[in-house]
């Protein structure tokens, strides 16, 4: 049993090494298939980042009247934190608001000049509230207006309502598209890889005939092809991994301009084991199953 396995593995390895043309062709196609899957994984990762960052960017800003004391605002905050729907609440004092404003408009002479003309700090203290779910914003704003209406200058939510509603749609849109895209491209990749392996085996059908003729059992005929498929899968997975290092490094700059705070290269590196595992799995399973199915046609006794 063990000798048999050893011999089958050696035959598979030898065919892989000796039949250069067909090995290169199948590895090449497999690299494309694996790269597609890797690309989709990275796409999903990017989409997930965009979704969460968009979600966390939307919040309720509650501006308090200039007459309200800081202690009162902090009390409101404590009340808010007790609500189940609320994720976190950030207090931004008048001074901090000004600091942020100056930071954001550093180069803008007109704004800075007009600010100076006002003389004092015209900005208001505020609480930035994030909820777990964008649908519960209305609940929180209602609560604020009912309980603390007298302290509040304005709640900056109405302006954002359409953004929040659109975001809900966008989020599920990206996810549906991503999954659909993954399925379609995955099927295409699998079919192309399968067909290439099928063709490679078709060209060896006479050899299969000879193997049968000299008394090889089905396992001795099919086994080496399966081993060869596994080797193709492993080699293709390694090549794909090596390809994605420079590719993501190259992409990380432009992509970071587009999606600030997201570095695709570090995302790739921090998930490298999971990604390589997926690449190996795709390569090995695809290679193995394609070979096993393709050779089956020529095994009739």
């Amino acid at each position: 049993m063990f000798t048999e396995f050893k011999r089958i593995s050696r035959f598979g390895y030898q065919s892989f090494m000796r039949d250069r043309g067909s090995s290169v062709a199948t590895v090449f196609v497999m690299v494309i298939a694996i790269s597609l899957v890797t690309f989709l994984m990275l796409f999903q990762g990017t989409a997930a980042f965009v979704i969460t960052s968009l979600e966390s960017r939307v919040d309720i800003s509650t501006y308090f009247l200039d007459t309200v004391f800081e202690e009162e605002i902090l009390q409101v905050r404590d009340e808010l934190v007790k609500l189940d729907d609320v994720r976190d609440v950030q207090y931004i004092s008048k001074d901090k608001a000004l600091e942020k404003f100056l930071e954001e408009h550093k180069g803008d002479e007109v704004i800075l000049a007009s600010l100076e003309a006002v003389g004092s700090n015209p900005l208001l203290s505020s609480l930035n509230i994030r909820t777990w779910d964008s649908s519960s914003y209305l609940k929180v704003t209602d609560f604020l207006e009912e309980s603390f209406g007298g302290l509040i200058s304005k709640v900056d939510f109405e302006e954002r309502e359409p953004v929040i509603q659109r975001l809900d749609g966008l989020t599920s849109g990206i996810q549906t598209f991503g999954i659909l895209f993954t399925i379609i491209l995955g099927i295409v990749a699998v079919l192309v890889a399968f067909n290439t392996i099928r063709l490679a085996i078709y060209s060896t059908r006479e050899e299969i005939e000879v193997m049968r003729l000299v008394g090889a059992s089905n396992w001795f005929i099919r086994g080496p092809f399966v081993v060869q498929g596994v080797i193709v899968g492993i080699v293709a997975a390694i090549i794909s991994l090596l390809l994605f290092i420079p590719a993501t490094l190259f992409l990380s700059g432009p992509l970071e301009n587009l999606i600030s705070g997201f570095n695709i290269f570090s995302y790739f590196l921090s998930n490298i084991f999971v990604i390589f595992l997926a690449q190996l799995l795709v390569g090995v399973i695809l290679g193995m199953i394609s070979s096993a199915i393709a050779v089956k046609r020529y095994l009739k006794v």
Binding site: T3, E4, R7, Q14, S15, R18, D19, E207, E209, V210, M211, L213, V214, G215, A216, S217, F220, V301
Partner: protein, 226 residues
């Protein structure tokens, strides 16, 4: 050892490839099957290997009707017969040595036995120094000698050669025929199908002549006459 008893093989409705053939081959004999192309030589050999079943009549091997061999034992049965073909049928991605060793490997022989037997049989066909060559690095005659070595490796009772010299020049043809005679001299029965006149006339062994699926002549020390 081998007996055809009124054996016929009819393809389709009425193409009689083999037509009521009867003859016997004794152990250790060297028998040539001759006849024009289409006379039925290949069909006769395929019946012997049980790659085809006769339409009527029997084929007996050691007094057993081979049609009655259970399908699970057919590989064992076929190992008692070594086969050699016109187109060599070597595995192109394996060396001469590996082509011969392959037969033993798939039979589950031990590594040491394989080394010993393969070396021995390659010596017999005088291919020791070509052992590491691939088929496309060998001449036609050398390829056929590898094929014969492969047919011999599991020490079959019979070697069946179907036009083994069909693709060879006269020099290599004599080479292969001499080799088959040597193997026969060592005790293996040989059945050689050919339509090469010179081969038969030089051999001076038993000749069975087929025409249109029928045996029309069966002579000890025969000549090629059609």
């Amino acid at each position: 050892m081998i007996r055809f008893e009124n054996t016929s093989k009819i393809y389709g409705k009425d193409t009689a490839a083999i037509d009521r053939v009867s003859f016997e081959v004794k152990k250790g004999e060297f028998v040539s099957l001759v006849g024009k192309s289409g006379a039925g030589k290949t069909t006769l050999l395929r019946l012997l290997l049980r790659e085809e079943d006769p339409t009527s009549g029997k084929v007996l091997f050691d007094d057993q009707d081979i049609a009655e061999i259970p399908s699970g034992f057919i590989p064992d049965f076929r190992r008692r017969i070594g086969t050699v073909f016109q187109d060599y049928k070597l595995l192109p991605m394996k060396t001469a040595y590996e082509n011969v060793a392959y037969v033993m490997e798939v039979m589950g022989a031990r590594g040491g036995d394989i080394d010993r037997d393969v070396s021995e049989v390659l010596k017999l066909v005088e291919l020791m120094e070509r052992a590491e060559h691939f088929p496309n690095q060998l001449s036609g005659g050398e390829k056929q000698r590898v094929a014969i070595a492969r047919a011999l490796i599991h020490r079959p009772d019979v070697i069946v050669a179907d036009e083994p010299t069909g693709n060879l020049d006269p020099y290599h043809t004599q080479d292969i025929i001499k080799l088959l005679a040597t193997i026969n001299g060592l005790g293996t029965t040989v059945i050689l199908a050919t339509h090469d006149k010179d081969v038969i006339n030089r051999l001076g062994k038993r000749v069975i002549t087929l025409d249109d699926g029928k045996v029309i002549r069966d002579e000890e020390r025969g000549k090629f006459i059609l």
